[in-house]
């Protein structure tokens, strides 16, 4: 599916603006603070229910207004859909699909898969482990509602268990939470592994292409006691549960002392190697950015492969952050099949050929 229309009412700095989009590439050009990123955010929000800016939702309502409204119309080969999102001053969101109210965000946001690439994503390699975990988890959430549910349930178990550890609760109170942590944690870890294999398989050829032959691999540094760095070497659910149990016993006194859950996939990390060497310590700035670019490219391919439809790609202000060769690589990604939105301050970053085929929208008109 591709997005044909986007409407913004009192969303951030937009009072009232409607856009019509083509099936290919749309470039939003404007000076800083003219609302380019807001358009990128609105597209992601209406399509997926998430925003890369991670706002409190009431912050997205234009100053002095009671409600923000974002609308989208999307079209596929066989069907069309219209989605409405009302954001009210209490931070609540109400969804409508084809005019009918939907209670769950999930049921209103499964039509158009989206991959977003922002300058923040460029720190994937060296940023905190949390950034890498959420990169893989956000992808998993979008690919399967089972993954999303599992992740939410697991996060809840960790929160509950942490509350007990903070209060120095007796072991008998901890035991049932341990069982959940082991069972759900093993499942989450295995799902992540499987997804990482797909991302790694899709990212390696892209990286090799951009870097003229270097080999990129993705490894897992787990806190589940299993110690299998290569994601393709997957343990069974039983093996993983056994190792999680052992690791919990092993770290029990640490967990008591630090009053928080130290064992489980919420502490896993993902690493990258280039020709077998750890990218975090050995890779140059440029190589790290190439890895981030290869990861995003892989996301596009994984989503397309698993959902059978090419995702909408949103590039928010990343062109200015990349050098010539990486910009060219990103341009190749943009040329693939599928709808793409790019925000930029300067169209000079784009090849004339690409610009000719694009719809160029100037921002700052109505804000």
């Amino acid at each position: 599916m591709w997005i044909t229309r986007l409407g913004l009412r009192d969303f951030r700095n937009y009072k009232h603006r409607d856009f019509t989009f083509g099936e290919g590439l749309t470039i939003f050009v404007g000076a800083n603070a003219t609302g380019k990123t807001t358009i990128a955010e609105a597209i992601q929000t209406i399509a997926t229910g998430e925003s890369f800016r991670k706002p409190k939702w009431d912050e997205t309502i234009r100053w002095g207004c009671r409600e923000a409204l974002v609308t989208m119309e999307a079209e596929g080969e066989t069907a069309a859909v219209s989605v409405e999102l009302h954001i009210t001053a209490d931070g609540r969101r109400g969804w409508k699909v084809d005019g009918v109210t939907r209670k769950q965000t999930r049921s209103a946001t499964r039509f158009v898969p989206v991959v977003v690439f922002t300058p923040d994503d460029l720190t994937l390699v060296k940023g905190p482990a949390e950034q890498r975990r959420s990169a893989i988890d956000a992808l998993g959430d979008q690919l399967s509602s089972g993954y999303a549910t599992l992740r939410r349930d697991y996060a809840r178990v960790v929160r509950q268990r942490n509350a007990l550890l903070r209060d120095d609760a007796p072991d008998s109170h901890l035991t049932p939470w341990d069982e959940h942590l082991v069972h759900l944690g093993a499942r989450l870890h295995l799902h992540r592994r499987r997804l990482l294999v797909r991302v790694a398989e899709a990212a390696a050829p892209v990286y090799a292409h951009i870097s003229a032959g270097e080999s990129l691999a993705i490894v897992i540094d787990d806190r589940c006691g299993i110690g299998l760095q290569d994601p393709t070497r997957a343990p069974s659910q039983e093996e993983l549960e056994t190792s999680l149990q052992a690791e919990l016993r092993h770290r029990a006194s640490d967990e008591r002392a630090r009053r928080t859950s130290l064992v489980g996939p919420h502490r896993d990390d993902i690493g990258f190697t280039l020709d077998g060497r750890d990218a975090r310590t050995f890779a140059s700035q440029g190589q790290q950015r190439t890895i981030a670019l290869a990861w995003k490219w892989a996301e596009v391919n994984v989503v397309a492969g698993m959902l059978g439809k090419s995702p909408v790609l949103i590039l928010d202000d990343v062109m200015s952050e990349l050098d010539e060769s990486r910009r060219r690589a990103l341009t190749d990604l943009v040329r693939r099949e599928g709808q793409t939105f790019i925000t930029t301050t300067n169209t000079g970053y784009f090849e004339p050929g690409l610009l000719e085929s694009a719809d160029v929208v100037t921002t700052g008109g109505d804000a």
């Binding site: 809840r156 509950q160 109170h173 049932p176 959940h180």
Partner: protein
């Protein structure tokens, strides 16, 4: 600025405290009451006062009761060897509606949730252990909600009750995951009861 006469404003404020009632619903209810006759309003007020005055928790199962024991605990015709453990009084109603269960109940009045400060001691767990420990119970069916907190409560109780020598079962899923018992339809809940399993 006052839009409403003070007595109306007070009624609106009270109505808005109720779950699911926003300013508009409160206004609709208040105007309905105002338009009706005094008897109707009196009956509503009496019913509210009366339910708070006469209803307390059953001394045995902690369901709502008008007398010392609730109607179910008072019914000697039921199967005294089975106890079905639920979180809330409304869950008793949901299971009774299935007609699949003829034993007695135990209402925990919640589920274990450390982030909300609710542990076994804040629930009617000690009373449940006492009932089972008194003997004569051959099966305890754990029918807490199929969400994380409900499952944890079930796990905790099964650890506690099994050493007492009784059979401990958990209602099977078939219930929507993450759902509350009260929203389950009778057929789903009935089937889940039939397919209950032993807890390990």
């Amino acid at each position: 600025m006052a839009y409403y006469a003070p007595p109306i404003a007070r009624l609106l404020a009270e109505l808005e405290r109720l779950p699911g009632i926003g300013p508009k619903s409160a206004q609709r209810l208040a105007y309905h009451i105002l338009r009706g006759d005094a008897d109707t309003a009196g009956r509503l007020a009496d019913a509210i006062v009366e339910v708070k005055r006469s209803i307390h928790f059953c001394g045995r199962c902690f369901n709502f009761a008008e007398r010392e024991l609730c109607d179910i605990c008072d019914d000697t015709g039921r199967d005294a060897s089975a106890i079905c453990v639920v979180e809330e009084p409304r869950d008793v109603v949901a299971i009774e509606r299935t007609g699949e269960f003829r034993g007695y109940y135990h209402v925990l009045q919640g589920a274990i949730s450390p982030i909300d400060g609710i542990g076994p001691d804040q629930l009617r767990v000690r009373e449940l252990v006492a009932r089972v420990g008194a003997g004569g119970i051959t099966e305890v069916i754990l029918a807490t909600d199929p969400d994380i907190e409900g499952e944890t409560t079930a796990l905790y109780l099964s650890r506690l009750l099994k050493p007492l020598g009784t059979r401990v079962t958990r209602i099977a899923s078939g219930l929507p995951v993450g759902g509350d018992l009260e929203y389950a339809d009778e057929v789903t809940l009935g089937r889940a009861l039939e397919a209950r399993r032993e807890m390990d």
